[in-house]
């Protein structure tokens, strides 16, 4: 079986390398190709295709090399319109671009296994614009074994790979005393939900630029990481992602410095992108996070609080940055207001649902965390709030929470929460929020990333850790 497609995009620079890896992966996924080949062919004489590393300085090197070998300012017979016949009125002087394509390839074949492009760790697939800006088109053919009914296997490492490279690049240039603690945290893993959201919504406008999108995505992950570094000091948490927290390992002073450095750095990197709407979106989210953090600590005096105050804190602490990630990605790509509005609400709902699921996971033996950690740390938790409101177990839960919490009390509170049915109630609410989040996407054109956004929303609540 062969599936044929066309990939269309606009370029913005005379010479530009456009990373198509994510879009090609989307095409594979949409076609249901499980194993086979993807043929890729430029439909232009000044547009090539190439596989290489997506590293900004290297791309600048390529551009410089092409300019050395076929300089734009040289004399080309092709540009002597008086000697040519039938030259259109709008014919550009682009002999250099045609010559440059001789150095590249107009077509290529890529292998596909398990629904994923077979690429090495550093390989990306680029269209090489040699005479931009222009509207461009590539022909694709996918051939091989397809999943019946379409929709293939989701790739494991997409679209985050470019973000990982960008994160490593941003960290590599920082002073060691702040860089090393942050690297330990970033390299310990994490779900990378926020940068994934940026990477997806960053494709929703005509101005999609993978490099700028990955820069934004990495900066937002750094903001998230900086908040974790400060939170861990405030919560006196000994470990995160299985490793000692910055505060526990290097002391609170270093934790404060590292957090401040990366808040500031991320702010600067985002400002340098030169998009005022993106700068505003992220700045407002940071303010919301800080306000909510103050609220959260203040509410610990009235522990466990109520649903209204819980939602207020979660909207700031978790949902604000998730929503901002969605919005900023779309804004950077120049998406329309309708799309921006929809992904804002999508991000907010997924953020709240994610936190609710996190609360439920705290009671799971498979969570990988010490059982009852939220109870022990007196963290706001919706199942606990619902348990205290329960007619049967509520009085005992409130009484236990009013006193000192040793291991046996924590265990008893957890038992009561489970017996009250609060976990099912919170899980149901979280799934309902995900349903609403997915509905938010229905009326807007988010084709190409819709299935990934839907899957991501579901994965935010259907998890055990």
């Amino acid at each position: 079986m062969i599936v044929s497609r066309r990939l269309r995009f606009d370029t913005e620079q005379p010479t530009q390398f456009i990373d198509l890896t994510s879009r090609l992966q989307d095409e594979i996924h949409a076609s249901g190709l499980r194993a086979g080949r993807l043929f890729l062919q430029s439909l232009h004489t000044t547009l090539g295709v190439v596989v290489n590393e997506n590293e900004p300085l290297l791309l600048a090197d390529f551009e410089a090399m092409l300019d050395r070998l076929a300089p734009a300012g040289s004399v080309y017979l092709h540009d002597d319109f008086e000697r040519r016949h039938g030259v259109p009125a709008d014919e550009p002087a682009n002999g250099h671009a045609h010559c440059r394509l001789l150095l590249l390839a107009p077509a290529m074949t890529l292998l596909v296994e398990e629904g994923t492009l077979v690429l090495g760790r550093w390989q990306s697939v680029f269209a090489a614009e040699l005479d931009g800006p222009r509207s461009r088109e590539l022909a694709l053919q996918l051939e091989g074994d397809f999943v019946p009914g379409g929709r293939g296997v989701l790739p494991h490492h997409h679209p985050g790979d470019l973000v990982e490279v960008e994160l490593a690049r941003q960290l590599a240039v920082d002073p060691k005393p702040v860089q090393l603690p942050m690297r330990r945290l970033v390299e310990a893993g994490g779900k990378r939900l926020r940068p994934t959201l940026v990477s997806l919504t960053g494709r929703l406008g005509t101005g999609y630029d993978p490099l700028r999108t990955s820069t934004l995505a990495a900066a937002i992950e750094l903001i998230h990481s900086a908040t974790l570094v400060h939170d861990d000091y405030v919560d006196e948490s000994p470990t995160r992602r299985g490793r000692a927290t910055v505060a526990a390992r290097e002391g609170p002073a270093r934790a404060i410095e590292v957090g401040d450095y990366y808040f500031a750095k991320a702010t600067r990197v985002i400002a340098e992108l030169g998009s005022p709407p993106v700068t505003s979106t992220v700045a407002q989210a940071m303010e919301a996070i800080c306000r909510a953090q103050i609220d959260d600590v203040a509410l610990r005096g009235q522990y466990p609080g109520d649903r209204t105050s819980y939602l207020r804190v979660v909207q700031g602490k978790t949902a604000a940055l998730m929503s901002a990630a969605c919005v900023a990605g779309a804004q950077l790509a120049g998406a329309g207001e309708d799309v921006v509005g929809s992904v804002r609400r999508y991000g907010e709902l997924v953020g709240i649902a994610f936190q609710m699921a996190d609360d439920v996971v705290d009671y799971s033996a498979e969570s990988g965390k010490p059982p009852g950690q939220d109870i022990r740390q007196r963290t706001l938790s919706l199942p606990l709030i619902y348990a205290t409101e329960d007619r049967e177990v509520g009085p005992e839960v409130r009484e236990l929470l009013a006193g000192e919490l040793s291991d046996s009390e924590v265990e008893r509170v957890a038992e009561l929460v489970i017996a009250s049915g609060a976990l099912e109630r919170v899980g149901q609410e979280a799934r309902e929020m995900v349903r609403e989040a997915v509905e938010e996407l229905a009326p807007v054109p988010v084709d190409g990333v819709r299935s990934r956004l839907v899957e991501l929303a579901h994965s935010a609540v259907d998890r055990v850790s």
């Binding site: 920082d174 002073p175 060691k176 005393p177 702040v178 400060h230 000091y233 405030v234 002391g251 609170p252 002073a253 270093r254 404060i256 410095e257 590292v258 957090g259 401040d260 450095y261 808040f263 500031a264 750095k265 702010t267 600067r268 400002a271 340098e272 030169g274 005022p276 700068t279 505003s280 700045a283 407002q284 940071m286 303010e287 996070i289 800080c290 306000r291 953090q293 103050i294 600590v297």
Partner: protein, 123 residues
């Protein structure tokens, strides 16, 4: 509150940080206001200065509450500069925080925050 009223700062810009006004924020604001005509820029600079001071960067370990207030000061400053829309200042102020925090982490004596911010404003 009356002192605050004389400088006409919107409530939104001092929300949750009112208590800092008499603790140095007001003095810093007035000092920066002598260097810039834009009250929001002066307030942003004052927020950065007080935020770093509250967090004890290079001097002491801030208590939890001070750290969180300091975070809010720095975030508010970012938002104010985003409202102003001056990319140069956004970058310059961020660089001040980067420098002060990384110097402190490296054990290097930090230059005063106010002169760094004043220099950023003067450029």
């Amino acid at each position: 509150m009356s002192e605050r009223a004389t400088v006409e700062i919107p409530d939104r810009d001092l929300e949750s940080l009112d208590s800092l006004w008499s603790g140095g924020l007001g003095e810093a604001y007035n000092a920066f206001l002598r260097e810039t005509e834009d009250a929001r820029v002066a307030l942003a600079a004052a927020m950065v200065e007080i935020g770093i001071k509250l967090q004890g960067i290079g001097s002491h370990v801030a208590a939890h509450g001070e750290l969180l207030l300091g975070d809010l000061c720095l975030a508010r400053a970012s938002r104010l500069l985003a409202d102003v829309g001056d990319q140069h200042l956004q970058i310059a102020f961020a660089r001040v925080v980067e420098r002060v925090s990384s110097d402190a982490a490296a054990g290097v004596p930090a230059p005063g925050v106010r002169p760094l911010l004043m220099a950023a404003l003067a450029r």
